[in-house]
């Protein structure tokens, strides 16, 4: 009986000990943070680090069904002499710059208007401008392709006909094709950027405006000397994501042309990566294209961040 009791208590002690170790582990201030970040770290390694490193490796290889061959800088050399790739880089950069010109000032303007007392029924305006970004690009792209079709009955040709102009082939010329691409971009992203700016505007202390008013500032002066500087963090954020989104654009062009546009006017860097990697099954070459895109996006964004002073320490 005594024996039995002692063994029972031993079992209980062991259990307590285990519980303690487990609890100590969980409640320990040192380990807990790691436990919490672990899911992120794991997915980061599996979905980011691994593909990223294998992309780097593959960009130096020729990937073939019977195994891969190391070819050193072969893919990169070919890339630099590849006219279509250089054109794709040009297209992507141009698209990115044009979207910056349109998608920063106008959403900012709309946000300021919505933040002011000039506009009524703000909720409706916000919803109206935001809804397009919830629409699938596949559906909206198909609609836009029909609207810009070269046929007589397409919306934009009907508009031209109304003004007495002959039909034109919208998607076969640079200016009109980019008009179409930018129209899609503006239609989709104006609302999103506007919401970013709106939330930035809401966080500005109204006291600043009041003191500016006391000093006799006009509406414009308030906008330039109060709103813009206070909005700087939001502006930098929107600029950074817009640069990346512009350079990585693919689906819009894919929906308009199906990745085979006349004179490659709609070929973007990602479109070219898709063509080489998926359509032509040249994974090594496509990896090199992807890495070059990464470098371009990084360099442009770094320059932008340095120029806007993000890395400088806050002045006290």
């Amino acid at each position: 009986m005594v024996e039995h009791a002692s063994s029972y208590s031993k079992d209980g002690e062991d259990k307590m000990k285990k519980d303690n170790i487990f609890k100590r582990f969980l409640y320990s201030q040192k380990t807990a943070p790691y436990v919490f970040v672990l899911p992120f770290l794991l997915s980061f390694c599996v979905f980011w680090i691994y593909p990223f490193s294998s992309t780097i490796v593959m960009s130096f290889q020729d990937i073939q069904p019977m195994g891969s061959k190391w070819i050193g800088l072969g893919n990169y050399k070919k890339l630099l002499a590849d006219k279509v790739f250089l054109q794709a880089v040009g297209n992507s950069v141009m698209y990115m710059l044009l979207t910056l010109v349109l998608l920063i000032p106008f959403p900012l303007l709309f946000a300021s208007l919505l933040d002011s007392r000039l506009v009524k029924a703000k909720g409706i305006w916000k919803a109206l401008l935001y809804i397009p970004s919830l629409t699938s690009v596949v559906i909206s792209g198909t609609l836009f392709r029909m609207m810009f079709s070269e046929r007589d009955g397409s919306q934009f040709n009907l508009i031209l006909n109304f003004f007495g102009h002959d039909k034109i082939q919208w998607l076969k010329m640079y200016p009109t094709a980019y008009f179409a691409l930018l129209l899609i971009a503006c239609w989709r992203w104006t609302g999103v950027n506007m919401l970013y700016f709106l939330s930035g505007l809401k966080s500005i202390d109204t006291g600043l405006y009041e003191s500016a008013e006391i000093d006799g500032a006009t509406g414009w002066q308030k906008f330039i000397y109060v709103t813009i500087p206070m909005l700087r963090p939001t502006l930098i954020y929107v600029l950074t994501i817009s640069i990346y989104a512009g350079l990585a654009m693919f689906l819009e062009s894919f929906m308009l042309w199906g990745n085979g546009s006349p004179y490659n006017i709609g070929t973007t860097i990602v479109g070219y990566l898709y063509r080489r990697g998926i359509e032509k099954n040249q994974m090594g070459y496509a990896s090199a294209v992807g890495l070059v895109l990464l470098i371009i996006a990084l360099v442009i964004n770094m320059i932008q961040l340095i120029l806007s002073g993000t890395f400088k320490k806050e002045e006290s």
């Binding site: 069904p65 792209g141 898709y274 032509k280």
Partner: protein, 464 residues
């Protein structure tokens, strides 16, 4: 409680959106985007106790066809029955999935349809990826058109794909319209050369005298006209199926055809095809609206008449169109060429390779199979022994739809069907010609020699 609910909801949305975020950039999504059909269609056929086979295709009608053939196979081979699962994917989605699964050596189906233009990507794996059909093809080989079998051979000479059709090019004429303007069937039959064709076109356009109405249309996003010209001169811009074949687009045939097309455009006999070529929504609308009354295309284009210009389309063309031989540049040349096609392959990953190979050859080459290909799918079959029978079949849709019987024309041109290879050089050539050269020459009127010179240098640097 409310707060708890709200935070749970937010967390779920966040996780879900981050997962969806991962997904939106995958290839398959983009591919399906193009094809405008999101969901693959899965169907099962045959004996539930039979050997399980999986088949992928990119055309719904093909899946139905294989289903019917499985039933026939099971009737004839009770000891080797099949239970087939077919999946129909969007075009590029399926091809992407296939190459990925072959490359990773996991997840490929037993049997898969591969479109001719995509075939070089798949056949480059040869024995590593695919199971050769040479053994299974033996019983049917004698009656098959050889050039179509050759198309689906690997560089090692083994047969890896089974063809559906010949895809012989012919000239389609809208006789009803032509007759309205005084052109008879005899006039059409007397067209032997491209010069005759041009004269007939001028006659029609002058008689009609209406702005925006043309005799034919030339393509800026398709190479059919050029392929016909190459077959006529016996040239091949891919350089053929040899191992180190060099592409060459600076050919006499290509040059001649492009200059000829420029002339047609100048004389307003032709327009540039709406949407780039005839086999598009815009091109088919032009046919339905009588904007154009003649165009060269492969015989499989007949199925477009059935699907898009049939009795219930609102633009019914029944009884209006006439099929004739394509013109040639110089008399005595071959007047046709096989275009397009689907090569069906058996993958190395299949657990019942031999059964799959036997079945696929039965389905696509036996008498039963070929008859069904003609009646259900409307293709010009590769089994020449059946041509007479196909021709006399009174119930066949196409025999009733056109003014003459398609197989009559096919029999006339039987020995005049040329071949232009589809090789690893094809994608680079098509890219350049379709995106730039044809637009330069036909839209901007650029000098043909210069345009081809430019194309050649781009293609060479691309295919190195």
């Amino acid at each position: 409680m409310n707060k708890k609910f709200l935070s749970t909801l937010l967390c779920t949305t966040m996780v879900a959106s981050s997962l969806f975020g991962c997904g939106t950039n995958t290839a398959s999504n983009k591919a399906s985007a193009k094809d405008k059909k999101e969901e693959p269609v899965v169907t099962s056929f045959g004996d539930k106790k039979g050997t399980k086979l999986e088949l992928w295709t990119f055309v719904g009608q093909h899946a139905d066809f294989y289903g019917k053939m499985v039933e026939k196979w099971n009737e004839k081979n009770p000891d080797r029955t099949i239970n087939m699962k077919t999946t129909t994917y969007p075009f590029s989605d399926m091809h992407t999935k296939l190459t990925m699964t072959l490359q990773s050596k996991k997840g490929a189906p037993d049997i898969c349809d591969v479109e001719a233009g995509q075939y070089p990507n798949v056949v480059k794996g040869q024995d590593e990826w695919l199971y050769p059909l040479d053994e299974a093809i033996k019983p049917y080989k004698d009656t098959m058109v050889e050039s179509r079998l050759d198309m689906y051979k690997g560089q090692n000479g083994k047969q890896y794909g089974a063809p559906f059709h010949i895809g012989a090019t012919v000239m389609y004429y809208n006789m009803e319209q032509l007759e309205k303007y005084g052109i008879t069937q005899a006039d059409v039959d007397s067209v032997k050369t491209w010069d005759d064709y041009e004269k007939l076109g001028k006659r029609y356009v002058e008689a009609r005298g209406e702005k925006g109405k043309f005799f034919t249309s030339v393509d800026t996003a398709g190479t059919d006209w050029l392929t016909i010209a190459m077959a006529e001169y016996g040239e091949d811009w891919t350089g053929g199926n040899k191992k180190n074949a060099k592409p060459n687009v600076k050919l006499k045939s290509v040059n001649k055809m492009l200059e000829y097309q420029q002339k047609l455009l100048k004389e307003k006999v032709a327009q540039v095809s709406t949407d780039g070529q005839v086999d598009t929504d815009g091109g088919i609308a032009d046919i339905g609206n009588n904007t154009i009354v003649s165009f060269p295309k492969a015989l499989w284009f007949m199925s477009r008449f059935k699907d898009k210009l049939g009795a219930d389309s609102g633009k019914d063309q029944t009884g209006k169109w006439y099929i004739a031989k394509c013109p040639v540049f110089e008399e005595g040349q071959k007047c046709s060429v096989g275009i397009g096609g689907t090569g069906t392959v058996v993958t190395k990953q299949s657990k019942a390779k031999k059964l799959a190979a036997d079945f696929i050859c039965f389905a696509k080459m036996s008498e039963d199979g070929e008859k069904m290909i003609w009646n259900d799918l409307g293709f010009d079959v590769c089994n020449t022994a059946l041509w007479d029978e196909c021709n006399t079949d009174q119930d066949n849709f196409y025999n009733k739809y056109f003014r003459n019987k398609p197989y009559e024309v096919l029999k006339q041109i039987k020995d005049d069907i040329g071949k232009v290879s589809i090789t690893k050089n094809t994608p680079a050539i098509n890219d350049q010609i379709n995106s730039t050269t044809l637009n330069d020459v036909l839209e901007k009127g650029k000098n043909v020699k210069e345009a081809l010179e430019e194309a050649q240098s781009t293609i060479e640097s691309d295919s190195e």
